[in-house]
Subunit: 298 residues, 2 copies
């Protein structure tokens, strides 16, 4: 799983930073997470393959998280897209998009409405499961948890040859099955395969004040994105607007025992991000800053 940052700023664009948008890449299937204004330009800039994108997740209806969606959807149609596109977001998003479409799109849009009360599996495929979960913001907002499916076991070719396993059975070995010879002998799967790489989990908590309501679902994630809109000196603003400071984000990461913390959604008041970075690192060492165009291995 890889994550590419298209926009890392909050509310308004500033200092060349764009509003929130991210691309999750799971085995070259791309998932768009929020879509602030300019996201489609950023995709061009950073070589994101929009045809590999079939699912878009919109956390809430503050403009800096969805104003770029209509332009992106419109451009896809102008490029002649035919594949269906799935959008997971607040129910009002449907009317917002539809009122702006002057022509019928060349492809079908499917809207899936988020539940802002309960955790929910919103997408489930062979390779990934996506859950939405409510967070604590000034309007109804969901975060998203991307979980790679259990990876297949990895064949040990020499052992397979040694035990003369027929090739047609190799695929079933990767699912963990034992092989049974015609004479009834059992060749244990553990002799023929080893464990695959551990599946990864990416938790995106959107815009939120720190809150225990999402502490379970993000527990021990490989990567946690947590907004860090303000430096600690502006804690009052963070509380007032139901955002977080960098220190609060880091405390969430620490309590959840995640492997790595990614902070973003920087206030436009900050040209330099050093203080945000240092404040977070003082509490949770394995912190990185969201930087547009950068790709993070989860």
């Amino acid at each position: 799983m890889k994550l590419k940052i298209l926009g890392c700023n909050s509310a308004t664009p500033a200092y060349g930073r764009h509003p929130t948008a991210q691309v999750v890449n799971i085995k070259e299937q791309l998932f768009l997470v929020d879509c602030g204004e300019g996201a489609q330009m950023q995709m061009q800039e950073f070589g994101v393959k929009r045809n590999r994108m079939n699912h878009i997740f919109i956390s809430h209806l503050h403009g800096d998280h969805f104003f770029g969606l209509i332009g992106f959807l419109n451009s896809l149609a102008l490029y002649g897209r035919e594949k269906e596109m799935h959008i997971y977001g607040p129910k009002d998003l449907k009317a917002i998009i539809e009122i702006q479409l002057m022509h019928e799109l060349s492809y079908t849009l499917h809207f899936h409405f988020l539940d802002f009360k309960n955790e929910q599996i919103i997408y489930d495929s062979e390779s990934v499961e996506v859950r939405s979960f409510p967070v604590h913001h000034s309007i109804e907002t969901c975060g998203f948890l991307f979980t790679e499916k259990e990876r297949a076991r990895v064949l040990l070719p020499e052992e397979c040859r040694h035990y003369e396993i027929p090739k047609y059975f190799y695929k079933r070995l990767t699912y963990g099955e034992d092989y049974e010879r015609k004479n009834g002998d059992i060749i244990k799967n553990g002799w023929l395969t080893k464990e695959g790489k551990k599946p990864s989990r990416y938790a995106y908590t959107a815009d939120t004040a720190p809150h225990k309501m999402y502490s379970d679902i993000i527990k021990k994630a490989d990567l946690l994105y947590h907004e860090a809109t303000y430096e600690e000196v502006h804690l009052d603003k963070a509380i007032d607007r139901k955002h977080s400071t960098a220190k609060q984000a880091a405390r969430v990461a620490k309590d959840a025992e995640v492997k790595q913390l990614l902070i973003g959604h920087y206030s436009s008041r900050y040209k330099e991000l050093d203080t945000l970075f240092n404040e977070a690192k003082s509490i949770f060492a394995n912190t990185i800053l969201a930087v547009e165009g950068e790709e993070i291995e989860v």
Copy 2:
């Protein structure tokens, strides 16, 4: 009058070029003409002072001409704007904007609806008059004509001193009045002032196929912006989509006897613009290309 290009591409962004947006500057009062996605970022990039902008003109409801408006209006509120903002556009624009505003803005929006049947004076102040006029596109579309008001006459300071004109009368001299001495002697205005710079006219024809319906209003404009979406080899596409080729744009400029032609709204199929430029210049020599960030003296 000065014109700054924020976006010069058509339909979808491409090669770093943005969808249509322009800023007309008349004595430091700024007028926004169309507002494609990313216009607010371009304003930041090019140092456009958004507080000097009180009037926004939207030619039609194709997304590449208005998808950036909601983000811009929203950001103005986040920056604490209190001054009223006037928007001139198709009547459906009002609902499109209003459905996307999650909170009340910090300032009042006034919508003024365009007449797509007749030429209309839509804004009139001491320094400028703006007219809308219908053009020939696939949906209802208006162009805009910006006309500077008659400039004041310019005082000749030595002559004024020579004739001992009292200072309180200087302002009236700039309006063209003669000065009458107490003894009844008349000092002719022409002895005391010279003509001011001729007022300028900028005609923006938005998206359109060439058509006589707007030939009168753009006649002898100082600057004509005419879309030139396609090279001549794609004339069929231009006709089909009610756009123009560069040659057609140049013929319009020639027939209208304008001083200068500015072409833009380039199709995303063109990385290089040389052919568009050369095709237009072959018919109308005083052609310039719209380039983002560049400012043009009208």
